[in-house]
């Protein structure tokens, strides 16, 4: 049983996550450039989805291997990141509608990025509580 996730245990999920993000970004760029035939378009969509599922599987496996305090810390950090992302998106959207902010047209990449940053921030806060 792993006690805490070390740097090495983050390599696999990071690789899956980066792979999913890069292939999805490549898909977005390619779809803007040309219109491939339907089977190819479906395949292009399936690849990042499969890589994302690999990422989820790695992260869930890692959470199952860590000890109970680490699981608590992760739960608290995700419990912070999930609503904080929702509040951030709602706030930005309302500020855009109020014409306080220029329309940014949040893409999924910005949303995922914000969620990851807030997850890291939540982990730092939760981890400090138990030091």
């Amino acid at each position: 049983m792993e006690c805490a996730p070390d740097v090495g245990s983050w390599i696999a999920p990071t690789a899956w996550g980066l792979g999913a993000g890069l292939t999805a970004a490549a898909d977005t760029a390619l779809f803007a450039l040309y219109h491939p035939p339907l089977p190819l378009r479906v395949a292009m969509v399936v690849v990042p989805v499969l890589l994302s599922l690999g990422y989820v599987s790695c992260v869930v496996g890692m959470f199952r291997r860590v000890d109970e305090l680490q699981r608590r810390i992760q739960l608290e950090s995700l419990g912070f990141a999930f609503p904080a992302t929702a509040i951030l998106v709602m706030t930005v959207d309302l500020l855009e509608q109020a014409k306080v902010l220029p329309a940014m047209h949040w893409a999924w990449g910005m949303l995922v990025g914000a969620m990851c940053l807030l997850w890291c921030a939540g982990y730092a806060f939760a981890s400090r509580r138990y030091k």
């Binding site: 305090l69 138990y130 030091k131």
Partner: protein, 65 residues
């Protein structure tokens, strides 16, 4: 919840790392339990009690009592 984990560990001359390794948890977990920042799960409390050779109530006590 209060506990006597630090005292019992010191009696055995174990470091937090030694105890963590014997229990299969992180050193941070032992430190958090000893400082009262984290209450262990029942299975971990039983494991600690078994390792220390004492009943659970001999190690952990409710602050309400």
């Amino acid at each position: 919840m209060k506990n006597r984990l630090r005292e019992l560990r010191a009696e055995r001359d174990w470091s937090q790392r030694d105890l963590a390794d014997r229990l299969g948890v992180s050193r941070q977990t032992i430190n958090a339990i000893e400082t009262g920042k984290y209450d262990p799960s029942l299975p971990l409390a039983f494991k600690i009690a078994q390792l220390m050779g004492r009943p659970i109530e001999g190690i952990f006590t409710s602050e309400a009592v």
